[in-house]
Amino acid sequence: METKGAIMNKQSAEALTPFSPSLHANVQAIRNRFGGSCDLVIRLFSSDAAPERELAIIYVDGIVDSETINESIMEPLMSLKLPQYRYQKGGKLLDALRSCVVSIGSVQEINTMDEALLYMTDGLCIILADGCAAALTADVNGGSQRAVSIAQTQTVIRGPQYGFVENIRTNISLIRRIIRSPDLHVQMHKIGKQTHSNVAVLYLHGIVNEGILKEVYRRLAAIDIDGVLESGYIEEFIQDETFTLFPTLLNTERPDSVAAALLEGRIAVLVDGTPIALMAPTTFFSFFQSPEDYYQRYDIASFVRIIRYVAYIVSMLLPALYIAVTTYHQEMLPTTLLISLAAQREGIPFPGLVEALLMEMTFEVLREAGLRMPRAIGPAISIVGALVLGQSAVQAGIVSAGMVIVVSFTAISNFVMPEFNMAATSRIIRFGFMLMAGMLGFFGIFVSVLFMLIHLTSLRSFGVPYMSPLAPGPTRQGLFRDVFIRLPWWAIVLRPLDMNLRNPKRRPNGKKPPAQRHTDKP
C-alpha cells in the first residue's frame, strides 16, 4: 500500500544521504536527526544467524505494534539457529534476513537515510546491520486508535451504521470490504512537508473519467504546505473556485457514501487523521441526496428529496419574502391575514428588515453557542433561546410573533439538509437576500436570485458543470431519474454524472426483472 515511488520521486530532487557501512554511525545519525527524542527506540543486539555482526532495530514507539515487533522480528532474529545458513559479507546479510528470517508481510530494502526517517515516522521498523550500507523496513504499523463506530454526523435509519475513523488504512479497508473488486484502485500520496500525511485517491478503474482523474492528481501534486490535518485543507487546495459560497466537493464520514460515489464514477480522496472523506466531481443536486434515499423505498425517498429542495429554498428566501411583503407589497396578502399581521406589528418599533436581522443574528449566535459549549450546560441554552428570546421578545414588543415564526421555520428548514456545508451556504446567502429585500422588495430578491443562479451555472467541479444535468441540458436520456426524484433502482440505468465516463451504464436496461405472481403453484 505504501507508495515508495511517490516518496522517492519527491526526495530524488534533493540530495539523498546514503547509509554508512558502520552500524554505529547510522544509529548515531538517526538519533541525532530525531534530536534524542524519548519515543525513539533503538535496540542493538546480535543474532545467531550472524554472531560476529551487530544488528539494530529502530522504531518510533507508540505508532508501531510492539507485539508484532517482538514476535515477528526480534524473536526470529535472536533465536535463529541456522548454522547451515551461509551468507557473505556486505548487503547479502540483509537479503538473507529478508527472505528467511523476518516474518512480516511487507518488507523491503532501502539505501538512504532519508527514506529510513520517513518510513520510521510512518510507523515502520528499520533493521540495520553492521557492515551494510542498507537497511530493511518492516511494516509493523500499529498503536492505539479509535475503533470503528457509529457515524455521528450523517445518521440514517435504514442502512449501514458505521463511519470512518481517523486511520486511513482502516478507512480504505472499510471501502474495500464494500467494493470487492480489483478495479478499485488506491493511489497513495504524501502531502505536507512536516506532517507527511497520507492522502489516498480512490477510483473504480474502467468507470472513472481518466481526464478528471489526471486533473485530481495534478491538483494534489501542486499542493505545497507544511501540514495537512484534515481533508478541509485538501479541499481548499483542489476546489475549482475559491470565491464562491457553494461547496464544489462533497464530504462524508460514511464508507457506504464513498462506495456509492465510486460506483457513480466519482473519485474519492481520503486523508489520514480524519474520518471525513472528499468526493469529486460533484453537482449542486448531489448535496440534496442522502445515502438513505437509496436504501428507503423510492417513493418515500422521492418525497423526502422534494421536501429537502423546498426546505432549502425556504431557508434561503423566507425571511426575505417576509420583509418584502410587509415592507413593500402588502396588497398581495389576503385582507384578513394582512390585518392580523398589521395588528401584530402595531407596537413594534423597528422596520421589518431590522427586526428580521435582529432575530436571524440571535438565532445564529444561539446555534453557534449550542455547537461549541460543553454538553453539560445544553439545557441552559434551550431555556434562554426558547423562553427569553422567543416568548419574552414578543411580549416585550420588540419583535412580532410573525417574525419569530418565520425565523424558527427558516432555522428548522435549514436542518433538513443532509450536507452541512450546503446548509451553511443558505445561512449566509439569506442575509444578502434580506438586505436586498429591505432595499428593493421583490425586485431586489429576484435580482439577487438571478445573480445567484448565474453564478451557479458558471461554477464547475473538476470540469463538470455544477448545475448539470439541468444546465446545460442532459446529453443523454435518463439522467433525470435520480435528481429531483429517485426512480426505482431498476430504472436508473445511467450513472448520474454527465461527464463522459468510461462506462456510463449501471445496468443493461431500465426494465424490472419479471416476478412470478403465484409462487406456490408449480
Binding site: H329, L440, G441, F443, G444, L450, I454, S458, A471, G473
Partner: protein
Amino acid sequence: MEEQRQITVIQTAAILVSTIIGVGVLPLPLFAVRAGESAAPLVTLFGMAVASIGLVLITWLGMRFSNKTIIQYSEDIIGKWAARLGSLLIIVFFAVLTSLTAREFGEVVVTSVLKSTPVEVTVIVMLLLAAISTRNTITTFAYIHHFYFPLLLVPILLIAFLSFKNAEVINLQPIFGNDLKGIMMGTMTIAALFQGSFILTMVIPSMRKPEKAMLASFWGMLIAGGLYLLIVVAAVSVFGAEEIKNLLWPTLELAKATSLPANILERLDAAVLAVWVTAVFTTLLSSYFFTIYAITQLFRLADHKMFSFFLLPFVFIMAMLPQNIVQMYDIIENVGRIGLYITIGYPGLLFMISILRKKRGNQNGDESMDKIG
C-alpha cells in the same frame, strides 16, 4: 476554443424565445389595440409573420455561412467598408435597444411596485446584472437562457389561463377590426418587438449542428409568437379594446385582476413583476451580449469580456436620456421601426447580394475566414 460548437437546437430555440419575450410583453396588448382595436390578435399574427420573414432571412444567411457571424460574413458579401458601416449600425442599434429595455423595465418597477425608489437604481441594477453575466462564454450564455426558460413560460401561461375566467368572447369581435391602414402600421410596431431574434446571427456559428438552425428558429418563433398571441387574446378578451387604450401596461393589469385560487395571495402583480425580472434579464443579456460580441468581432479581438463594463456607462446614460414614460415610448416605437430596416432590411439585402454573387461560406470551412477576414 474547446467550448466552441456546443449549443444545441433546443438551447437555440430557448435563446430565441427568452430573448424575444421581455419587457415588451407588458405594453404589447396596448400597441396591438391601438393599431387594430378588436383586430389586435390579427395584428399580432401579422407582426409575427413579418418578423418570421426577417428570422428566416438571417437563418438562411447563417446556414450559408455557418462558421461566421453577421459581422464577419457581411464583409464577404458586400465588401469591407460597406459591411463595417452596416455592422456599426447594428452595434449602435443594439446598444440603444439594451438601454431602452433597461429603462422601460426600470419605469415599470418604479411605477408599479417600488414607488419611492429612483428609476436610476433599478436601471443600474439590471444593467449591472447583465454586464456581469456577459463576461461568460457564448456556451454559458446559452446555458443561462436554457436554464431560465421555464421561469419565463410559467408566469405568462399562469396569468393567461387564470384570466380566461373573466374573459368575454364578444370583446374579440369583429376579429378583422375596422381600420385596415392602422393594422398595417401596427404590424410594424409588433414586428419590432421580435427584433431580439437577431441574436441568432451570433449563435449559429457556435451551434453543434448549424444545419438545424431553421428548426430552432421555427420553434423559437412559434413559441414566442404563440405566447404573444395568448397574452393579446387574454388582455383583449378580459378588458375589451376601449379599456385597454387607457392602460399603459395591460399585461400587468391582467396580473392584478387575477388571483390564485384558494385566496393564498390576493394580488399577483408584484410577484409576477418579480418573476418578470428573469424575462427582462434574458432579453437584456442577449442584446448586451450581442453588442459587445459584435464590437469584439468588428475590431477582430479575441476576448469580449473587457467590453462588458466599458459599455456600461454609455448604455446607462442612454437609458437615462428619455425625460418621461411618454417620451420613452415614443422613442421605443420609433427606434423599433428604424430597427426593422436593420434587422430585416439589411439581412435581406445581404441575402440577395450573396445569391447574386454566389457567395457561400461553407466550402472551405474555417480557412476561408482567415483568408478573407
